[in-house]
């Protein structure tokens, strides 16, 4: 599958269905900054879930701090108590799994969730850690050097930003 054929809006429709199947009565959606946070925000609305979503970023727990330094500022904002909650992490693109590992550590700095599950728009393969999503709207294998990430226009519509094609 070529990335050019990736229709982010169509995949989002699939993601809504997939996430609905993963919801438990007290699931809290937590979007991974930044693409995952946009998705979680829209999912919360489209699924009619109450309250605000959480946003989590990997800044404080990145494993490449030694070589790359501080990647940016921290955007983590968890407006609910994570203790005992079922947390559903949402991300746009799952690649090595390192960001997922970092945000799980970040999450546990706030308490002990009952469970943590992961749903993503695209699983692009290339995992370097034993991390698997419970749901992915698309799966493909991309060359390592190719960058793929979600973009959002002013009207809130999603598309993919592809570099190194």
């Amino acid at each position: 599958m070529s990335t050019l054929l990736l229709d982010a809006e169509a995949l989002y429709t699939d993601l809504v269905r997939g996430v609905r199947g993963l919801l438990k009565p007290d699931t809290g959606l937590v979007g991974i900054w930044s693409g995952g946070a946009w998705l979680a925000e829209r999912l919360q609305r489209d699924l009619g879930l109450a309250g605000a979503i959480g946003v989590i970023s990997s800044t404080m727990h990145r494993d490449d701090f030694g070589s790359k330094g501080l990647g940016g500022t921290d955007h983590t904002k968890l407006p609910f108590d994570v203790n005992g909650r079922h947390i559903l992490l949402i991300d746009d693109v799952l690649f090595t799994g390192r960001t997922t590992r970092a945000v799980i550590n970040e999450l546990f700095d706030f308490g002990r969730p009952a469970s943590v599950t992961l749903a993503v728009l695209v699983d692009r393969g290339g995992r370097e850690l034993p991390i698997e999503p419970a749901y992915s709207a698309a799966r493909m294998t991309l060359p390592r050097e190719q960058r793929l990430r979600l973009a959002r226009d002013d009207a809130g519509r999603f598309s993919f930003d592809v570099k190194g094609d």
């Binding site: 404080m60 501080l70 700095d109």
Partner: protein
Amino acid sequence: MLHKRNPQLNSHGELVHLLSIEGLPQSVIHHILDTAGSFLSVNDRDVKKVPLLRGKSVFNLFFENSTRTRTTFEIAAKRLSADVINLDIARSSTAKGETLLDTVANLSAMHADMFVVRHSESGAPYLIAQHCAPHVHVVNAGDGRHAHPTQGLLDMYTIRHFKKDFRNLTVAIVGDIVHSRVARSDIHALTTLGVPEIRAVGPKTLVPGDLREMGVRVCHDMAEGIRGADVIIMLRLQNERMNGAMLPSAGEFFKNFGLTPEKLQLAKPDAIVMHPGPINRGVEIASDVADGKQSVILPQVTFGIAVRMAVMSIIAGNDAK
């Protein structure tokens, strides 16, 4: 290789040491303040610690005593998961005749990753930065009368927090400016951040006229100095630094330049009052002002931890090359 013109920056213009605010680009200052904002929220977590400096050793080298500053650096380093070693240098090696660079060489052999340096001689942190191993980072925690950059940065964080924009502010720095490295760091930072009016307020003996060369308005009259100000930074009267007869008495100073509720009325109604601490109640500031609703002295302390976390994590993540 260090930046040719500014020894704090590497060839990419990234911060590898924090030695002085002088010469730091505005973008670097804003990056530090933005990063500090991230660390402020770490205090709200169950686990008030992040692992960025895990496995790194931070040595606090205080050649001049300062329990408060040393403690804030220690807290900041510990919240970044670093191992912190406090050395009371004033009473140990130097007293036995070891040179500054020999002390540093010995500590480097113990695998130090960062030195936080307080020294009574201006320029001591520069000397250490020039001679330490490339992977070692240096933070100036106050050198002589020269600079106290983390205090300057936390003051900027405080001003930005309460006033949002620097470009329309009048900031009055009041008191013992001649002995104050805080004042110097604040003036450099305020200038870089585009503050249009910076006033240095105090008696002629404590406010040198050459400050005008830094673009500062010098006021020897308190009323003139604080009238219409948005921010008032009170400085501590540094008794321990005053050798000559620069002042008739502390009481006389309070009468002329101490900040009282009456004098504070001259500033804007929403003016904030800052002080680097420790405060001398009844010498430079009245208790009613220090504890009043316009005082932001305690938020400064809280912000100071976050700013020091930001500085340490930024420099530790940047390569000397």
